[in-house]
Symmetry: C2
């Protein structure tokens, strides 16, 4: 811990930041309210917030509703539109890009389909087109983006590559960060999709109240993302949560139990087959119920390993199959009870397929915050890393 000395100017910066933090996420606030939140005196807040206004970080909200006694106070709000962030989900079947302001309010979302067999160059071209469409529709340029995160499948190493393995054809050689660095000057993060989905669940999903979360991606692929002490865990090589690679954990084969269920229409694609089985199980089809039981049995081994390793507060069931949580949740819970010392709460994701892009937004916003905390905040422009 290299606690470093402080002087007056740094103190002023810190107080200014504390006012930014007190403004953000709150309705337009009076100087008195800000003084209460920050612990500073009213005159101090006054001069600091006025500096924020002249720098463009804050704006005066004119009177509005006046229903209290005394002189009506000026209200200040954080100018969340001073900067923006992008969350980009490069999936197998789609590219999804979300744009938010500095407070995390969604400004615009653009989705484009992607060919599952597209090579990396074609896929990145689709990403570029999607970003083009979104920026044009929002009336922005690359320089308005202060940070962005790309979500991809497979474990991501420190350089932003997915060298170990990935279901995207040829993607091991792709360098999305390098590609996007060609047009964006802001910091670019690349992260595994499960990890981003986990972040999203804690931000806007069903796990907002928990600090220790295992996110389970249950779909055609199976994966996991871990949040411990409120922070995303990447692991030393970015491969945390890849428990599916263990042979004793039958995650690779687990979805096969669904596809192999007798009665599945021969023409069904993988995702459709699973949906068919879940629906059949719902209607009482014995063979479908067996298939689901086998699936959850295999799924549970890996989940139990993660639960025992990490002792989380909540396990979030996400991914495509979470739409059929009504069928999966009970058998999964029964299986987990067999394995675990202490059963964490099981919850079902409600974010749908936007979770990866959403988590990417959160990570980009966190990065912007960190840069604001370390660097001085001058006029609102992207604080450089």
């Amino acid at each position: 811990m290299a606690t470093t000395g402080t002087d007056l100017s740094r103190m002023r910066e810190m107080n200014q930041l504390s006012i930014v933090w007190a403004l953000r996420g709150n309705p337009p606030s009076t100087v008195t309210e800000l003084a209460g939140r920050t612990g500073l005196s009213r005159p101090a807040v006054d001069v600091l917030v006025q500096a924020l206004v002249t720098d463009g970080w804050a704006a005066v909200e004119e009177p509005g509703a006046k229903s209290v006694v005394g002189r009506p106070a000026r209200r200040y709000r954080f100018r969340a539109d001073a900067g923006h962030a992008l969350g980009i989900d490069i999936g197998v079947h789609k590219v999804l890009v979300m744009l938010s302001d500095l407070e995390g309010n969604l400004v615009r979302t653009v989705r484009r389909p992607a060919d599952p067999d597209a090579d990396p160059a074609a896929r990145l071209a689709t990403v570029d087109e999607t970003i083009d469409e979104l920026l044009a529709a929002a009336g922005m340029t690359e320089s308005d983006i202060w940070g962005l995160t790309v979500g991809v499948t497979g474990p991501v190493d420190a350089s932003g590559r997915t060298s170990l393995f990935t279901p995207l054809p040829g993607w091991g050689e792709a360098d999305p960060a390098g590609h996007l660095a060609g047009r964006f000057r802001c910091p670019i993060q690349v992260e595994n999709d499960c990890k981003l989905a986990a972040v999203a669940e804690r931000w806007k999903g069903v796990a907002q109240d928990a600090d220790d979360i295992v996110y389970l991606l249950a779909g055609i692929r199976t994966g996991a993302g871990l949040i411990l002490d409120g922070t995303l865990r990447r692991g030393h090589g970015g491969a945390a949560g890849e428990i599916g690679a263990l042979k004793a954990v039958r995650w690779l084969d687990a979805p096969g139990h669904l596809a192999a269920c007798p009665g599945v229409p021969a023409s069904a694609r993988p995702g459709e087959a699973a949906a068919w089985v879940f629906q059949a199980a719902r209607e009482g089809n014995r063979e479908a119920k067996t298939a689901v039981r086998r699936y959850t049995r295999d799924l549970a081994v890996g989940v139990a390993a993660l639960v025992l390793a990490l002792d989380p507060e909540i396990v979030v069931l996400g991914g495509g199959f979470s739409r059929s949580a009504d069928i999966i949740l009970d058998p999964l819970q029964r299986e987990l009870t067999k394995h675990c010392l202490r059963l964490p709460e099981l919850r079902t994701s409600t974010l749908g397929d936007e979770s990866v892009a959403l988590g990417g937004l959160r990570l980009a916003l966190d990065d912007i915050d960190n840069r604001m905390l370390s660097a001085e905040l001058a006029a609102p422009r992207a604080p450089r890393g």
Copy 2:
């Protein structure tokens, strides 16, 4: 993040703390050196360090060796003896108590044997006697101790109980924190022994350079402790790392392969049996080698699960069997290679059976540091939580 406003007095406290941090762990320092380390000006450091001296946190080191040109500078040192911490290991066969000063320098260690079958009351009585002996020998009283940590077997919940399970007879009902709170007024932590050993390895052991560590306790019992991002992970219920509870992970049975090896002397106690097998394997005994192979095969499944779940940088092999690392390490590494995506480095603990008490010391010292950071530091007395 509730960044709160700062005023002058708080700034002074922070600067004073930054000087404490700059003094600590360094040889006696001149004002100029401290100014360089903290980024503060010389006069500021001067007045702050003098305040530290009058408060008893620092002391002047008189001249000493003078081999430089110019007027010799006064040298100040941190008074590490202003307070002390205890690390207490309540094991099955022994009670070990270690005393250190605020810099973590070991002052004294006392060890007493314990009856493996002793009930909690008798075991706590042994703990008390050990502490008595140590305090008397060090010429201290309970009030000189600013923080202490107790290491016990089994997962420890938030209340300091080991309610889930423990190899110590009757220990599930024991309340070591409550017992010690009777004589110590300082904060008392209770923690799982594997977790403390992991902390010790990062502090003074073989994993000082790593932030993501899996500590493997390999002995008559098998267990694990996790350090991620440089911090001990307890899990929401304190049961992180208890992967051995998974049936697919054969940790409970693994040591059995050693005890069941043909040729083990019938009279041997569990630990001696294992030592015999390792020695026999070293001498080329085929059956012993098979037993070791089986042991490491079972051990590796759980380790692989932890490695895949967390993607650590280093796996530390500790516990009683780590004395035979020369025999275990190679087969373990071979087994792990089969299971893992990316093999972390395997290292063998060198701390012996002091690691639990040592880790307890570190945790107690960390707690003291945190209290110093949050509270103001007046005269040196235990900063209250």
